[in-house]
């Protein structure tokens, strides 16, 4: 699922180590493990922008509603 600009969650698969913390810690169960092992927003509409995924990502590989120009964003198939 390709993230559109108004998507709340952006994931940098080049930095993500698939540790699964974001998936497990999301209080609204928005994220799921994709077929290639990387997390993706399965139910983006449920996202409440609480930031639990953002502050708990050890690799800074997940941002919320990137308001500014994101340094590096990788299309996630």
């Amino acid at each position: 699922m390709t993230p559109k600009n108004d998507e709340p969650i952006h994931i940098f698969s080049s930095w993500c180590k698939q540790c699964g913390i974001c998936i497990a810690i999301c209080p609204k169960k928005v994220l799921e493990k994709g077929p290639d092992g990387y997390p993706y927003a399965a139910r983006p509409e449920d996202c409440i922008l609480c930031g639990m995924c953002d502050v708990h990502c050890p690799d800074y590989a997940i941002t919320l509603q990137a308001k500014h120009e994101v340094k590096e964003e990788v299309e996630h198939e």
């Binding site: 080049s14 930095w15 993500c16 180590k17 698939q18 540790c19 699964g20 913390i21 497990a24 810690i25 930031g51 953002d54 502050v55 708990h56 990502c57 050890p58 690799d59 800074y60 590989a61 997940i62 941002t63 919320l64 990137a66 500014h68 340094k71």
Partner: protein, 277 residues
């Protein structure tokens, strides 16, 4: 509270190799994120900050952050930091050490830095193991836990780092965990603003060397353990000692105002007839 990733780009050294070198699910990245958010909420410029790290997984923090950084010999971060702080008290000096770095080989320096109440913020990332060298037990490995050098289970009583540094004279002591990431950076902010020696113990999961060897589940399971067993200190104090199972107090545990080493040394300079800038 600024999101991590917005702050992180401001403080990461762009030419360093990312993703960073810590294992998938390791808590050090979370603690570094908290440190960056805490610094972002001070008025400190990058030039004013000296980040001194020891040797071990946590020791690599100094390569990633765009401050004046110093990667010292194992256990000795506080001694280098003491020299820097005394030579230039205007600098904000932060040390980052692991549990072994700070309380095993560095233990002597830790207790004396506390006793001196010197203006350094000391972040101790406690993952209960020597991770970098392959999972040996450390002074904070709980009894009976396994390690590469404790195949039959550790037989040593672990330190309570916060009690240790409090007893030695640290005037600000706080404990947070990788699960309480946002609380952690609030504590670090208070530590950075504290006058005197401040210690923040950040409990962090080591899913590979410690977690896997002790079958503690996924990184999230280990963080869940932090959540389930942490209580505020007032609550903790009410638990009768013999009923304390695995709980531990988190939050600000010590916060005393006391003249710090720099001010006391300035008194000496005046007494000796030198002029204080």
């Amino acid at each position: 509270m600024m999101r991590t990733t917005e702050a992180i780009y401001k403080y990461l050294r762009p030419d360093k190799k990312f993703p960073h070198m810590w294992c998938p699910g390791c808590g050090i990245g979370i603690v570094m994120g908290a440190l960056v958010r805490a610094i972002e909420n001070t008025e400190l410029t990058k030039d004013e900050i000296v980040l001194v790290s020891g040797i071990g997984c946590s020791g690599r923090i100094s390569t990633y952050l765009d401050f004046n950084t110093l990667h010292t010999t194992h256990g000795r971060a506080l001694t280098f930091a003491t020299g820097i702080k005394l030579a230039n008290p205007e600098l904000t000096v932060i040390t980052v050490m692991g549990d072994g770095d700070a309380t095993a080989i560095g233990g002597n320096h830790l207790i004396h830095a506390c006793r001196r109440n010197i203006g350094i913020t000391s972040i101790i990332i406690n993952n209960n193991i020597y991770g970098m060298t392959g999972g040996q037990y450390s002074p904070t490995t709980p009894m009976e836990r396994k390690a590469s050098t404790a195949q039959y289970g550790s037989i040593e009583k672990p330190f309570d780092i916060c009690k240790l540094v409090e007893a030695c004279g640290a005037t600000f002591v706080a404990r947070g965990t990788a699960f309480h990431a946002k609380m952690l950076d609030a504590m670090m902010l208070r530590a950075l603003n504290h006058k005197g020696f401040s210690v923040v113990e950040a409990m962090s999961q080591c899913p590979v060397q410690y977690g896997r060897r002790n079958k503690l589940g996924t990184p999230m399971d280990m963080m869940q353990w932090f959540k389930d067993n942490s209580v505020s200190s007032p609550v903790f104090d009410k638990i009768p000692p013999d009923e304390v199972d695995e709980q531990f107090p988190v939050g600000v545990l010590v916060n005393k105002e006391e003249k710090d080493y720099i001010d006391r040394y300035r008194d000496i300079v005046k007494k000796a007839g030198g002029e204080v800038p």
